[in-house]
Symmetry: C2
Subunit: 327 residues, 2 copies
């Protein structure tokens, strides 16, 4: 493979080369990994900084319809949009390539849009690395906006938030007890909460839901990276394409403020540092899944839970096997 040629094609926004490059970074084969590293190194610093938007929403909130409508609005205004997905469950559901393309019928045929489903990896750490590399490839290919969507399984919101400049939480209208659906801690990450389906019979409910979340957001501590009024909650209707322009204006306001105040660069640098440490940690902790250490942990697990041995004493045994003296 000619890396220089590959690099040039991606920089020239060749969609087929981009798709092939993403396949390359998703591969677990050793020779593919080596080529992927070489390609990423060749592309480092080239291209542009896209606006990376993380988007989380549980199934049923209308995430695909939102991405379709929102993406079409962006491409209509001349922006190039890439859509990536982080879904650690997609390996189980047998991949969702066809699903993603048919779910976004118009956007998938838009020459200014590029849609890529989640890599089929069960391990979230693996998905995270591949997705970060795919984002880097999309930036090299000159996309203005990279949307990274997740269904919010386990820790996947954190993974997406840590590779985004802006994090959106998409919610459905709900009344009373149904409101309990938001995972604790996820509001920590949201820059903007969008209550979708503010149309037809659900419009009033959507507005009330939005007011409830706006109230809840006000109870939380102000973050240094937010200008006055953020994080905020808004209503949209993906089906009726209502509220999308306003939502985009709010995103632009937030992002411009962060750029001007230096929070954008700071966040990018922090994210790079986060992933550096994270990969070192994960690589090191992977040792616990191997050989003697794995066996010792499995053997001690039950004894710890039943109180047969203290957690500290059990941990010391494992660390001795790994040839690391106890603290």
């Amino acid at each position: 493979m000619d890396i220089a040629d590959f690099r040039d094609k991606i920089l020239k926004q060749d969609r087929r080369a981009l798709a092939r490059a993403i396949t390359l970074v998703e591969s677990a084969r050793a020779d593919h990994r080596a080529q992927a590293s070489e390609l990423l190194e060749a592309l480092r610093g080239a291209g542009k900084q896209s606006l990376r938007i993380g988007l989380s929403g549980t199934p049923g909130v209308g995430k695909s319809t939102f991405i379709e409508s929102f993406g079409m609005m962006l491409t209509a205004s001349g922006l190039r949009v890439a859509v990536l997905a982080v879904d650690p469950s997609s390996a189980r559901s047998g991949g969702s390539i066809l699903g993603d393309k048919t779910r976004m019928e118009f956007l998938s045929r838009d020459p200014n849009a590029f849609i890529r489903p989640s890599p089929s990896q069960t391990h979230l750490g693996g998905v995270a690395r591949r997705t970060r590399e795919a984002v880097a490839l999309c930036e090299a290919a000159g996309f203005d906006v990279v949307l990274i969507e997740t269904v919010g399984v386990g820790q996947s919101e954190t993974v997406v938030a840590e590779m985004s400049d802006l994090f959106l939480l998409l919610l459905a209208p709900a009344g009373g007890d149904e409101l309990q659906g938001v995972k604790r801690g996820i509001m920590e990450m949201a820059d903007i909460i969008l209550v979708n389906k503010a149309d037809g019979d659900l419009k009033t409910t959507a507005m009330r839901t939005c007011a409830d979340y706006a109230g809840a957001l006000r109870l939380l501590r102000k973050r240094p990276q937010d200008p006055q009024g953020f994080p905020k909650a808004m209503t949209v209707s993906a089906v009726e394409k209502a509220g999308l322009e306003t939502a985009w204006e709010e995103m632009t306001t937030l992002i411009n403020w962060r750029r001007e105040t230096g929070h954008w660069d700071q966040r990018r640098a922090q994210q790079a540092s986060f992933w550096f440490h994270e990969e070192v940690k994960q690589g090191l902790l992977a040792r616990l899944q191997q050989g003697e250490a794995k066996e010792a942990i499995a053997a001690l697990e039950t004894r710890v839970a039943t109180g047969d041995v203290t957690p500290s004493a059990a941990a010391d045994s494992v660390l001795r096997i790994l040839n690391i003296s106890a603290r």
Copy 2:
């Protein structure tokens, strides 16, 4: 040191022996650690399961006054109460032994109460281990309730929640924008939110604050370990000793439900497992703070933040030094 004698004294609720034992588990000296391990092993399974109550509250919410009033109420009803603290910042403030004792003037002189300040350790992992061991010693010494308080610096709430059967969040009354003081994610841990200072001029504000938090709690997802109506928010006045009986009744209701449904035992087993894995992880990750790995990380840190090298490539270099092949 005669461990058997030491053990017997603790089981006989000898307060001086308990205090000496806690000093022993707090020591970093290798011979002390060995003795501490031997003592803890000798006491394992002895004594009783105390009710471990975690309590978090920022400075100014009246935490000491609350512990004093709440603790006195418990001892008056015949219960023996131990108070431990997790405060990673206490090493900086030069320890708070005198502070804790004078802050709780009556409780500290109550023969059925035992107050112990936070160990002077800057490393939260160290504080966590010592506090868990101190809790085990208090259980062996037959305390009915062990209150573990934290000021909520960084991750200390998580540490306290993971060693508690019940987690209380103490808040002060606040109006409008002042409400933003709750750290995102901490509501995840709270079983009961207590809005303190529901007395005098602040009474109305406290009730409104309580209603606001009750509303916010209802927006969060129901947890399997909660009976109907939990987590909940209530008002108390530590100064006027109002609402404390009701709060204790609610705690008893919650805990009895958890005991009957098996969630109590399940949580204890999960916590033991959590600390086992946590200590193995921390012990292994401590390798990154040593020798060549430490130097490599420091050297790569800036290059990663400036985009001079990708996080993945930098991580691979570090893992090669640790003789661990990259994923």
